[in-house]
C-alpha cells in the first residue's frame, strides 16, 4: 500500500516528489504529537485528580474528553497583551524559540528499527544540540517583557536548565560509551544483546539496570529540564515569579505546548536510551512500536505522579542538587563504567 501511494505521489509531483514525501512524513509525526500534547494535559488533570480523590475535568464532552480542545479554543480567542516598552518582535519570537526545538528533535527519533525520518549517525548529538536551543525561549521572554520580575524569573529558569543540561549530558555520555554509538537505533539494538536477553528476560539487559545511577540522574534531570514540578519555579506565582508572567492568550499557551511537547520528547528519549525502545521486555513476545508507546506512557505517568507527590524545591536547593550531587555522581560513574568496560567483566562487547 505504501509503495502504491509512493508511486502515485511520484506521478503527481514529478521532480519535487522527495520534498512532498518528506513533508508528508513530517506531518505524520507532528500531527499525532500535537494531539498527544493536547491529551497529555487532559490525562494530567484526570490522573492528578484521581490521586487527590477528585474527578478532574468531566463537563465538556463524554468524561470531559473535549476539554483540551475547549481550552485551546479559549486561549486562541484571548487577547495577547504586549506590555508597554516590550520588544515586540522578540516578545513574540520567544515562545516559538521554546516550542520549535521540541518539534525539530523528532526528526531523528526511531520508532522501530526501520521507522525513522532521518537516520543520521550522530542522532544523539543532534538531539542534544537542538534541545539546547530551547533555553533561548526562556531568556528572551524574560528580557523582552520589559519587566524586572519576568527578567529575574528568566535568569533563574535559564540557569536551572543549563545546570541540569550538564548532568543530563554526562548521563548520556555514559550511555553512548556502553553503546559505542551515537545513533539512537544502534543504542536500542545494543540493549537487545547480552546474557539476560538471550535467556528471554530482555528487560534486565536494558541500560537501566547496569547504569542505574545514571538512569535515576537522568529521570530527575529531565523533570528539571522541562520545568516540571517539583522544579517548577516559573509557576510558583505565590512565592516567586516566573519568566512568563507578562504573557497571555496563545503566546502563553505556546510555552505550555512547549513544556508538554518536551515532556513527551524526553520520555521518548528515556525509553530509547534506558528502557530498550521498541524491544519487548520478554522473549516470547514480539518487538514492536507498541512497546515504545507503553514505555513512553509509563515515563509520562511518572512525571504526573511526581507532580502530585512532591512539594516545590527552593531555588538554592535546586542548584545544589544539580551541581553538588548530580554532576559529581555522573563524573564518578563515568570513571566506574570506563574501568568496567576495560576490565574482563565487561558486559558490553
Amino acid at each position: 500500500m505504501v509503495e502504491a501511494l509512493q508511486a502515485m505521489l511520484q506521478g503527481l509531483f514529478g521532480p519535487v516528489y522527495p520534498l512532498v514525501w518528506t513533508v508528508l512524513k513530517i506531518v505524520l509525526i507532528i500531527a499525532p504529537l500535537l494531539l498527544g500534547v493536547a491529551y497529555l494535559t487532559f490525562v494530567e488533570r484526570k490522573v492528578i485528580g484521581w490521586m487527590q480523590v477528585r474527578i478532574g475535568p468531566n463537563r465538556v464532552g463524554p468524561w470531559g474528553l473535549i476539554q483540551p480542545i475547549a481550552d485551546g479554543l479559549k486561549l486562541l480567542l484571548k487577547e495577547v497583551v504586549i506590555p508597554t516598552g516590550a520588544d515586540k518582535s522578540v516578545f513574540l519570537l520567544a515562545p516559538m524559540f521554546a516550542f520549535a526545538p521540541a518539534l525539530a528533535a523528532w526528526a531523528v527519533i526511531p520508532f522501530t528499527d526501520h521507522l525513522v525520518l532521518a537516520d543520521v549517525d550522530a542522532s544523539l548529538l543532534y538531539i542534544m544540540s537542538v534541545t539546547s536551543i530551547g533555553v533561548y525561549g526562556i531568556i528572551l521572554s524574560g528580557w523582552a517583557s520589559n519587566s524586572k520580575y519576568a527578567f529575574l524569573g528568566s535568569m533563574r529558569s535559564a540557569a536551572q536548565m543549563i545546570s541540569y543540561e550538564v548532568a543530563m549530558g554526562l548521563a548520556l555520555v555514559v550511555v553512548l560509551m556502553v553503546s559505542n554509538s551515537l545513533n539512537l537505533g544502534d543504542i536500542v539494538q545494543g540493549q537487545g544483546k547480552g546474557y539476560f536477553a538471550e535467556n528471554g528476560i530482555g528487560f534486565l539487559s536494558w541500560n537501566w539496570l547496569p547504569l542505574l545511577p545514571m538512569f535515576v540522574v537522568y529521570l530527575v534531570a529531565i523533570v528539571a529540564e522541562t520545568n516540571r514540578a517539583p522544579f517548577d519555579l516559573a509557576e510558583g506565582e505565590s512565592e516567586i515569579v516566573g519568566f512568563h508572567v507578562e504573557y497571555s492568550g496563545m503566546a502563553f499557551a505556546v510555552f505550555f505546548l512547549a513544556e508538554y511537547a518536551n515532556m513527551i520528547l524526553v520520555s521518548t528519549l528515556t525509553s530509547i536510551l534506558f528502557l530498550g525502545g521498541w524491544l519487548s521486555p520478554v522473549g516470547f513476545l514480539p518487538d514492536g512500536i507498541f512497546w515504545l508507546f507503553v514505555k513512553i506512557s509509563a515515563v509520562l505517568f511518572i512525571f504526573l505522579w511526581v507532580r502530585a507527590t512532591y512539594p516545590r524545591y527552593r531555588y538554592d536547593q535546586i542548584m545544589r542538587l544539580g551541581w553538588k550531587v548530580f554532576i559529581p555522581l555522573c563524573l564518578i560513574w563515568l570513571v566506574v563504567v570506563g574501568c568496567w568496560m576495560m576490565s574482563p567483566l565487561n558486559i558490553w562487547q
Binding site: D87, V120, A122, L125, S129, I139, M155, R320
Partner: protein, 201 residues
Amino acid sequence: MEFRTFVFFFLSGVLLLAALRVITARNPVHAALYLVLAFFSASGIWMLLQAEFLAMALILVYVGAVMVLFLFVVMMLDINLDRLREGFWSYLPLGSIIALLMVAEMALVLGGRQLGLLESSVRQATTEDSNVQAVGRLLFTDYVYPFELASVILLVGIVAAVALTQREKRKNKAVSPGQQVFVKWKDRVRVLSMPAEKRDN
C-alpha cells in the same frame, strides 16, 4: 542549478546578512540574536561539507551555552547607546588598523588555494567511519597531548574565574543542608497544653 548549490547559496546569504546585522544592529541583544542566526547558518554550511560533528558541536557549544551566557551579560548591562557613540572618532585609527589586519588575514585564507596553503598532511576522514568516530579517534591518538593541554588550560580558566569572584568571604546566611537534614520537629516546635477556657457569666 543543483539543489545542493541552492542550499549553499541560501545558507551563505543568510550568514552574510546575519553577520552584517551583528555589527549594524543598534540593540546589543538583537546583535547577539543575529550572531546566533549566523552560527546556525554556518553549521548548516558545515553540514553540507559532511562535517556533522563540527556542525553539531558549533550549535551545542556556541549557540546552546556560550551565546546564552553572552545574552545574560548583555541583558544585565545598562547600555546607553548615545554614550557608546561618543568616542567613535578617537577609536577610529585603532579600529581601522585591526580591520585592515583582519582583511589581510582573510585574504590569506581565502586565497589559500592559489598559495598552496590548503594541502595539509592531516588524514582525511574515511567514508565508512562516521565523522564523530574519526574526530574522536584522531583527538585521542595523534593529538592527545595538545587536547589534554587545551583542557588543562580551560580548567585553569575556570578555577581563575571562581577565585576572582570569591576573593572575600561570602556573606551567606544559608544553613548548610547537612544540618537542615538532621533537624527534628522538637528543635523547632513547642507544644503547649492549655486547658479550655470557660466563658465567664
